[in-house]
Symmetry: C2
Subunit: 190 residues, 2 copies
């Protein structure tokens, strides 16, 4: 089984005017991405947000999903949320993974933009299969990860190449597609 | 370019207790799926809902996105919503596609469940590339399309096979993954 962690970064990210901002945690990102993570065997899905107060609000929200009422309402959703964890920064995320794995993760960032020296999906698949280190895949909210995050990362993944020129997938859709490309086992079998 | 239409069915679908229901239109399904559709070159994304009143509410909501304020706020989102259309039933959807294409679509349904005689992704890709007819891909809200829809369809696509046993992707994530598997051009190129 691949040894994958995923982080959804809320700071520093760009807004549509290319300014550096902190984005808010959203319910939609929590639910859709946790379901994709558990479906593809991601070990932990970190909500990375610098504001301790936002984290507390979300932990209270998530605590509802640990009650019997929630389990009766939707057991699958309860299961999906067990994959979630919080961190205030990428550094803390790395530390939490190291605590678990005894090794720092290889950090791979994602972007809808073309950059120099991006790695492809096949290369990344091979890396995941052959490395002994855990992998941390980082996604940006808002209009994407700040350049400084790509610069500190070990690798930057190429953008999703679709058929149309328009490429403005939601981060939730991008997570689903990238996990499928990197982790799905031979879907071509019929 | 592939000749693909997509329909999100709100009736008849199952709820978690396997009862037949009509689900409500949601803002999240509108935005995320329209962005995926435009990214992958889907010609029209039909919101299929039997209730004319729900449709009117959503058309009013969408009309906001045709204003200058919305364009200033987020042009990409405005572009994405041009792909949306409404229909009260699968029959009406088929008729609207026939009006456009001069031919009924081949209807392919999707499901997270295993059934007899499902077609695989490679087969479906070849079908899309070789047929002269348009394709209508149907997705279910709630807990998935009613069996009667699979029975009237030309084909039923196999479920997304991920790594984990748990498979409870949101319909938004399932749409993204299936469009990527069927329509993305050689993402393996590096």
């Amino acid at each position: 089984m691949a040894n994958i962690y995923l982080g959804l970064v809320h700071y520093p990210v760009y807004n549509k005017a290319d300014e550096t901002i902190t984005s808010g945690l959203t319910n939609m990102d929590v639910h859709d991405i946790s379901r994709s993570c558990l479906t593809y065997g991601v070990k932990k899905y970190f909500l990375i947000h610098p504001n301790q107060r936002q984290r507390e609000i979300f932990e209270r929200l998530l605590s509802f999903w640990k009650t019997d009422i929630a389990a009766f309402y939707n057991q699958h959703r309860v299961d999906a949320l067990t994959v979630i964890d919080f961190a205030i920064s990428i550094e803390e995320t790395t530390q939490l993974i190291n605590n678990q794995e005894g090794n720092d993760p290889i950090i791979i960032t994602t972007t809808a933009r073309h950059r120099q020296d991006q790695i492809g999906f096949e290369f990344t698949k091979r890396l995941i299969e052959t490395t002994e280190r855990p992998i941390l895949l980082l996604f940006g909210t808002g209009n994407g990860l700040h350049d400084s995050i790509h610069e500190m990362a070990d690798h930057v993944l190429i953008p999703i190449q679709a058929t149309a020129k328009y490429n403005f997938l939601s981060v939730r859709s991008a997570v689903a597609i990238i996990l499928d490309r990197l982790l799905s086992e031979e879907y071509r079998e019929e």
